[in-house]
């Protein structure tokens, strides 16, 4: 069942390539948070109850609810455009992300493992590549933040693979990353939004020789 949820996660990555509205990006992050909650709940059987509840609450509260609500509020406050314009057409994005999913799959086949960890690895590599592709393609800083959060989701998925043996430290690291991501980036998106009106990354290109 956990593997089914992982496949659904990869489907959400494809939907990210397809859609153009910023609201949908936030919605997909929420869906990914819920899927990660499901995977965490089903996979982490050998962890003691306290850490287990910590991990599970962290996923569903922070990834599933608080981060999307926070992003939505940022989006409304900064009056962002409805559509996210990217440098490459969506057609190419869908092909690229399908290639990333296939690449993750082939890489996990090469690891020659039969247990679940290589399956986690393939989906997480696909998510990380998708996040990095997102950051490269889009020009708006807000979508960069969303790409960063997708990378976080990928890293979290991989940490679930070893969550049974090293529970708390790994998940504390993930939590720290989310705080860095959302708080610091959120603060900077606000500051940058105040200074530069359009929040285009082209404006931030003056540090050259």
């Amino acid at each position: 069942m956990a593997f089914t949820l992982i496949i659904l996660l990869e489907l959400t990555l494809l939907y990210l390539a397809f859609t153009e509205r910023v609201k949908r990006f936030i919605f997909i992050l929420m869906v990914q948070g819920l899927l990660l909650f499901g995977i965490a709940y089903l996979h982490l059987k050998q962890v003691n109850t306290l850490e287990f509840t910590f991990i599970v609450t962290e996923t569903i509260l922070i990834k599933g609810l608080l981060v999307p609500i926070f992003l939505n509020r940022l989006r409304k406050k900064n009056n962002l455009e409805r559509l996210a314009h990217s440098k490459l057409p969506s057609f190419v994005s869908i092909l690229a992300i399908s290639a990333a999913i296939a690449f993750g799959f082939l890489l996990s086949e090469k690891i020659h493992d039969n247990d679940l960890q290589s399956k986690f690895f393939s989906a997480s590599i696909a998510a990380i590549i998708t996040g990095i592709y997102f950051v490269i393609i889009h020009r708006n800083i807000f979508t960069h933040v969303i790409g960063y959060l997708i990378i976080q989701n990928g890293v979290f998925l991989l940490s679930l693979a070893v969550g049974n043996e090293f529970p708390l430290i790994v998940n504390t690291a993930i939590l720290l990353d989310i705080f860095v991501g959302v708080l610091v980036l959120g603060i900077f998106v606000n500051r940058v939004g105040e200074r530069f009106e359009e929040m285009h990354i082209d404006e931030l290109a003056q540090l050259k020789d």
Binding site: Q117, F121, I141, E165, F166, I169, L176, L207, D209
Partner: protein, 474 residues
Amino acid sequence: MLVAYLLLAVVTSGAVYCFRNRTATLLSISLFLVGQTVLTVYAFCHLNERDCTYFTFDSLGVILSSVLTILSFATFYHSYLYLGRQSDNKRNKSIYYAALIMLSASLNGAYFAEHLGTLWSFIEATTLCVAVLIYHDRTNHALEATWKYVFICSIGLAVALVAILCISIASSKEGVSDLNLSTIIAHAQGMDTIWIKITFILAMAGFSAKMGLFPLYAVCVDAHTVAPAPISAFISTTLMNVGFLGIYRMYCIVAQTDALPWANKVLMIAGIFSMSLAAVQLLKVKHFKRMFAFSSMEHMGIVVLALSAGGIGYYAAIFHIVLHSFAKAGLFYQIGQVCSVYHSYVIKETGNYMKLNPLGSIVVILTFISVTAIPPSGLFISEFMMFKSLFAGRHYFVAIVALFLLTIILYVIGKRLMHLLYYKGEGVATLEPVKLNNYETFSQFVLLGLIFYLGANPPVFLTDLITGATAILK
């Protein structure tokens, strides 16, 4: 001991931020510096001992921590002079000092970390502190650099976290139950090579954002350009050292397995690319701090090449890191003084420094000799050892390319610095010699003295420490 040190850091930085008068700041900073010296001496006396479960006072940590202590004295002093020249915004100054204290504390925590998760968390903390420091000027340029720095460093550290997770997957198959470095190194031999390779390449890519190596070097360069001069000195040395530490720890793990030749190739490619990109970009640089940032990138490339060559290259790498820290710090401190004379860092607007500040010019000449590894600089010794190991390992092509690139870099830096010292154009001939604090150059002379001394006659405890740090690789 380390927990006490971290608590001291938090308390002193909080005190600096809350009480904004001079005596409180001076008291807190001195207290922190004393605590840091005590920590370094304690660590040196209790070499290779565990401390508070997550830290170990191993040799490399002690070396880097002593470099940090020496440089933090100088940085705090120069920061005091630098902030004294600026406008009197107390809040900004207190934030600056508080962030600098937290940065030193996180760096020390990262140097001594034994558990991989601890190492990663402290490096993440340094990203936050550095972001606060870079943003000190509050200009648009600073905002741009800070944004890019935070963003790309976070992505780099996320990739490094994936590397840590891969190594923990590989080690959980061997039955290892914790993420301590010594346990992983002990069990490294039986681990699946594919996981080790993936770990190493991801760690290289992730930590290169901190170290200024090939994939993610751009943020380092931008950050060093925009930060205030004492901060540039600090982060161009100690922060790059922590990036080196991350890569070095992963390299120690890889060295126990069969993936070592492959890892050496990866390091060599990264090193050569860093050096060539630095050389190419140096040819068209117009800003002093940017020039020195690229020079740091080139030196990190040299370190990584030395590491990949093996043999005496291991000793050369660590020795080069230590000496480069002193040399680059001295250079940046002097550039801070240069800026106070000309009020700009752009190379075209400077010149005739010999007349305006003779003492500073001597420092510039001597640090130029040190940084470009002309004898009697200590860096000459370490680069010589590096080339020796490259030729011994039969990497002739790489060595010749590296020599050629070093020549280009020497030419460019020399040309620009001579322009600074001797150019007598219209704009600068009319400037008057500025009355500068004589003690300001004192720190740089101390650092230069250290470089020449360590190069010529390194003390026994230093060589012992370096050999101890590289023992795991043999």
